[in-house]
Symmetry: none
Subunit: 287 residues, 2 copies
DNA sequence: CTCCTTATAGAACGAATATTCTATTTATTG
DNA sequence: CAATAAATAGAATATTCGTTCTATAAGGAG
């Protein structure tokens, strides 16, 4: 073999094939053999898994420094996986970066895939991505920080927190419940287990609190339960999308979240982020 | 100046700063001066604008080949833009790739390393906002569009779609179920109603399909149910965070989603957006 | 039309990097 | 416990790659 540097040859032979498959194959092998790897090679495996971009963009020395091993060990590592050397391994990681970002032309083609056919998956992803992004940014920008603090204070003082969110808002309610459970905050979801909600609310009172999550078109059941809570003088924090919303409590304590929608489906990214904030803030306030 | 190779020095001086700003500045200057550029340099400008990844990942020669000019012309091109050489230009493009894939740890550190005191509600909101944003962007950028299409095809062909997602992923699973219900797509959640999952899965077979959503630390129950599905030869689409994930199906059909976490709580914004894409795309495919 | 400036191409140079080789240390087996 | 095999570290080697230099061509100004 006249040349030991196989990098160029490898890249040339692969440039036509889109190969994130090679990457997957490599990772699969890595996972399979990880347990039986010698200590130094294991260090490298960790580094490779942790920051694949450093493999793609860096050098033998840089990766060796990250993994705290000798450069030659990095080469040995590559050889262990049926590769001719570091360069060949790096080519796999570089091809992956290349295959991920599709060219602009392809994306445009995908969008108006002609023949009036349905929007491509890629276009849908773009749409939902944009909707989530816009919702998040709007929420983050418009959120009234003072009211947010008030809401947290109110919730932190509560004996038990009732969560109300149906239909679209149901996953958010359930996630909030999950968070409260992990943080050992006394709470209860209402409206989801049919028939039991009235009974569950019988114990709710002024020393408790409730989070009501609802967006247009406000579910009838949500409004009913909201009114029942108000009648029992339960302090309420509303998360909703308009000052004219039917679930704004008499205390005026509500947080505005406007979720964008795409193809008729509303994002919930902003509400999720807000709910996480509420949960962690309440937990911290209580210590 | 003893050494003309400024690459190393440049990278060292920039490694702490997040610099897609440099990239933006470069592009701005490129657009401004494009019209007045000599013919060969214009060729290079075209190539650079068309495939920035090739600048980041390739060599002087490879870029020269793409632009159909001499390597030295590429260097001249870089010098024209107040850079010391090709390497410095390449560094800008590489930093961009790096900054796109979460340098998330630093951002979080900046948040609550400001002072030892407990984070304010506002800071928490910022944190969860950033986490969601980073997750969304990373997912959108890294998603393998080809695999996404494959996944949708697989799901669209299924008689019934089984949904598996526990713990953190439970809200996503439930939301997906909600979407499928609205779209009248036959489906079933498994693993959530205790004890019933085995029974529910008895009817699952090769003509069905399953979506498995799981992230580190992969819930034991999820892995068990995943294996049961595989044993029954149910085609599986996995949504997970690593090529080394235990829920990657034998078919290799999986979608990568890396959710950033803040304060120990992982975002689910990216997964939500992806799940919406899957649901609407499957519905559209079936018409 | 000639001179001068700018642009380009190709070759030569120098630096950095990947790879290989050998000595030494660390496990593993009889 | 000894002996062999494997793993590791560090230095030496070879090649690729970025840069610079010089000759040639093209375009403008006087």
């Amino acid at each position: 073999m006249p040349s030991s540097r196989t990098c160029a040859a490898t890249r040339e032979s692969q440039d036509s094939a889109l190969s994130s498959e090679d990457y997957d194959a490599f990772h699969q092998q890595l996972r399979a053999r990880y347990a039986t790897l010698p200590p130094r090679l294991k260090q490298i495996a960790d580094a490779v898994l942790a920051s694949p971009d450093d493999v793609a963009l860096g050098t033998v020395s840089s990766l060796a420094a990250i993994a705290r091993v000798q450069p030659s060990t990095v080469v040995r590592f590559a050889r262990t996986f049926d590769l001719n050397g570091f360069s060949e391994m790096q080519a796999i990681f570089r091809d992956r970066i290349r295959s991920r970002s599709i060219s602009y032309g392809e994306r445009v083609n995908a969008l108006h895939a002609a023949d009036g056919s349905p929007a491509s998956a890629s276009a849908l992803l773009d749409g939902f991505y944009e909707a989530a992004l816009a919702s998040l940014q709007a929420m983050h920008h418009h959120m009234d920080r003072t009211r947010l603090d008030e809401a947290i204070t109110r919730l932190a003082q509560a004996r038990r927190i009732y969560i109300l969110g149906l239909r679209r808002s149901m996953p958010v309610a359930r996630y909030l419940s999950y968070l409260f459970t992990k943080m050992e905050i006394s709470h209860r979801i209402i409206g989801l287990e049919s028939g039991m909600e009235d009974e569950a609310m019988l114990s709710a009172g002024p020393e408790d609190a409730a989070i009501v999550i609802s967006f247009t078109v406000y579910a009838k059941r949500t409004i009913e339960l909201f009114r029942a809570l108000e009648k029992r003088h339960v302090p309420i924090v509303a998360v909703t999308d308009s000052p004219a919303s039917p679930v704004i409590p008499s205390s005026g304590l509500w947080l505005e979240v406007m979720e964008a929608d795409f193809m008729g489906f509303r994002s919930n990214a902003a509400t999720m982020a807000l709910v996480m904030t509420l949960a962690t803030a309440v937990a911290e306030r209580r210590e």
